[in-house]
Amino acid sequence: MTVSRPWRIALRTVGLVYLAGLLLVPVGVVFYRTFEHGVGAVWDSITTPAAISAFTLTLEVTAIAVPLNAIFGIVMALALVRGRFRGKGLLNALIDLPFAISPVVIGLSLVLVYGVHGWFGGALADAGIQVIFAVPGIVLATIFVSLPFVVREVAPVLREIGDEQEQAAATLGANGWQSFWRITLPSIRWGLIYGVVLSVARAIGEFGAVSVVSGQISGQTQTLTLLVQKRYTNFDLSGAYAASALLAVIALLTLLAMTLINPRREEEDRA
C-alpha cells in the first residue's frame, strides 16, 4: 500500500514501541539487573554446585531427547509424505497435539501413566525403574513437548523435492539405505538442522511439564529452568537473574542460528 509518509512513520513507531515495551526493554532490564553487582557475582552464582548440576542435567536431557526426536521426525515425515495408508490425515493431526496442549497437562498425563499409581508405574517400580520424580520422567516430558518440530520442518521439504532422484538411484542399483544417506538426507539437511535447533531451544527451556514430573530434588532432578524458579521463590533474586541471563544467552544464540539457517532452508524448500 502506498501509504503517505506520516502514516507510515506513525505505524512504524507504534509497532516498534509495542515491540520495545513487550520484548526489548524487559530483556535488557534483566541483563542490567544481572550484572549490576559485577561479573564476579554472576560467575559465582552460576558456578555453585546446584547450578552446575542443573546445567549438566539440562544438557544431558537435551542430548537424549533431541536425537531421538530427530530420528522419529525423519521417519514420521517420510511416512506422512511418501506413504499411502489409512488414517494418514488423523496421524498428521495427532503429531501437532504437543503444541496445542498445556505443559501442565502434559506433565500430569505422564504422572498418570508412569507414576507410582499410574497405569505402567507399578510394573516399572517392580522392575526397579523410577520414572516420575527422576531423570527418565524429565526426559519423557522433554521428548513430548519437542516432538513435532523436526516432523514439521522436514515434511514440507520432502514434499517439495519429490522422489525422482531416489527412484533414479534405485534403478542404478542403490539399496534403500544408500539412497537415504546419499540422496534423501543431504537434500533435507537444512530443514532437519532447523528443526533440531528449535527442538534444542525448547528442550533446554521447557518448564511446565518438567516441573510437574521432576519433584525438584536439588542436585538430582533440578533443571536450569527449575533452578530459576526455585531461586526466585527463595528470594535469591540475583541468583535467579544470573541463571535467567544464562538461559537468555542460549535463546539469543538460538535466534542467531535460526537467522543464519533460514535462507538456506528456504532455498532447499524451493529447490
Partner: protein, 278 residues
C-alpha cells in the same frame, strides 16, 4: 506450488515405492513411539479423570474455583489473541512494506518469545512491570499481568502467519484501487484485510491455543490468586501439588477438550485459507 502438480512419472513412481517394506516398519515404530510418549498418556488423563466416578468428575470441574479459573483463562486468552491480531498485523505490515535501519534485526528478534524459556519470560516481565520496576509501573498479581505475559509469549504467531501472505500479496490490486480514487483506509479494508483474514485468523487461533495452556510465564507474575488471577493451568498444577491427581485430571480433560476444539478450528481455517488462495 510444484507439489500440487502430479506429473505422470511421479504417479508411476508412487506405484512402486522402493522403500515400501522398510517404510511400513518405520511407520509402525514411529506410531508406537508416538503412542508411548503422547497418545497413551493423554488417553490416561481422560480415562482416569473418572476414576472416582462421574459425580467426582462433575464436582471437580464444576467447583467454583475451577469454573472461575477456566472463565478467566478463556477470556484473557481471547483478549490476548485479539490484541496481538491488531499489533501483529501492524508489525507484519511494517516489516514487509516499510524500510528503516535495523529492520532485519527487528525481524530476527520477533522469534525471541519462542526461543526464551517461559519461566525466564515471566521473570523478565516481573522485573520491568513488577514491584521493583525501574519505571514505577507495578501490575504484578493483577489480571493485567496475566494478559501481559500472554501477549509476550504469543507475539510471534500472528506476525509469522501474516508476513508471508503479505509478501506474496499482489500490489497491483492496491494500486488499481488507489488509481480509481480509493483512500488508504478503503484499500486496507476492502483489499488488504480480506486477503490477510485467513492468516490473521489462523495465527490468532494458534495464539489462543497457546494462551489457554500457558504456564511458565504466568506462574510467577500472576501471584495465583484464586477467583482473580488464577488461570486453569496453574490451578491444575496446584491440584497436582496438593496430591489430587484425579481432580486435576478432570480439570485437565476440560482444558484438553478446548485445545482439541481450537486445533480443529485451525484446520478448518487452514482449509478455508487454501481455498481462498486459488
Amino acid at each position: 506450488m510444484s507439489s500440487t502438480t502430479i506429473t505422470p512419472d511421479r504417479v508411476a513412481a508412487r506405484r512402486r515405492p522402493a522403500w515400501r517394506s522398510s517404510g511400513a516398519l518405520g511407520l509402525g515404530v514411529a506410531t508406537l513411539w508416538l503412542s508411548i510418549i503422547v497418545l497413551i498418556p493423554l488417553a490416561a488423563v481422560v480415562v482416569r479423570s473418572t476414576d472416582g466416578g462421574l459425580s467426582t468428575f462433575w464436582d471437580a470441574v464444576s467447583s467454583r474455583q475451577a469454573v472461575s479459573a477456566l472463565r478467566f483463562t478463556l477470556l484473557v486468552s481471547l483478549l490476548t489473541a485479539a490484541v496481538n491480531a491488531v499489533f501483529g498485523t501492524m508489525i507484519a505490515w511494517v516489516l514487509v512494506r516499510d524500510r528503516f535501519p535495523g529492520k532485519r534485526l527487528v525481524n530476527a528478534l520477533i522469534d525471541l518469545p519462542f526461543a526464551l524459556p517461559t519461566i525466564v519470560a515471566g521473570l523478565v516481565l516481573l522485573t520491568l512491570y513488577g514491584p521493583r520496576s525501574p519505571f514505577g509501573i507495578n501490575i504484578a498479581y493483577t489480571q493485567w499481568s496475566v494478559l501481559l505475559a500472554l501477549l509476550f509469549v504469543t507475539l510471534p504467531f500472528i506476525i509469522r502467519s501474516v508476513q508471508p501472505v503479505l509478501i506474496e500479496l499482489d500490489r497491483e490490486m492496491e494500486e488499481a484501487a488507489l488509481s480509481l480514487g480509493a483512500r488508504n483506509f478503503t484499500v486496507f479494508r476492502r483489499i488488504i484485510l480480506p486477503n490477510l483474514a485467513p492468516a490473521i485468523l489462523s495465527g490468532g487461533a494458534l495464539a489462543f491455543a497457546r494462551a489457554i495452556g500457558e504456564f511458565g510465564s504466568v506462574v510467577l507474575i500472576s501471584g495465583n490468586v484464586p477467583f482473580h488471577t488464577q488461570v486453569s493451568s496453574v490451578f491444575i498444577f496446584k491440584q497436582i501439588e496438593s496430591d489430587a491427581p484425579i481432580e486435576a485430571a478432570a480439570t485437565a480433560t476440560v482444558l484438553l477438550l478446548v485445545s482439541l476444539l481450537v486445533l480443529f478450528a485451525i484446520r478448518l481455517v487452514g482449509q478455508w485459507g487454501s481455498r481462498h488462495d486459488r
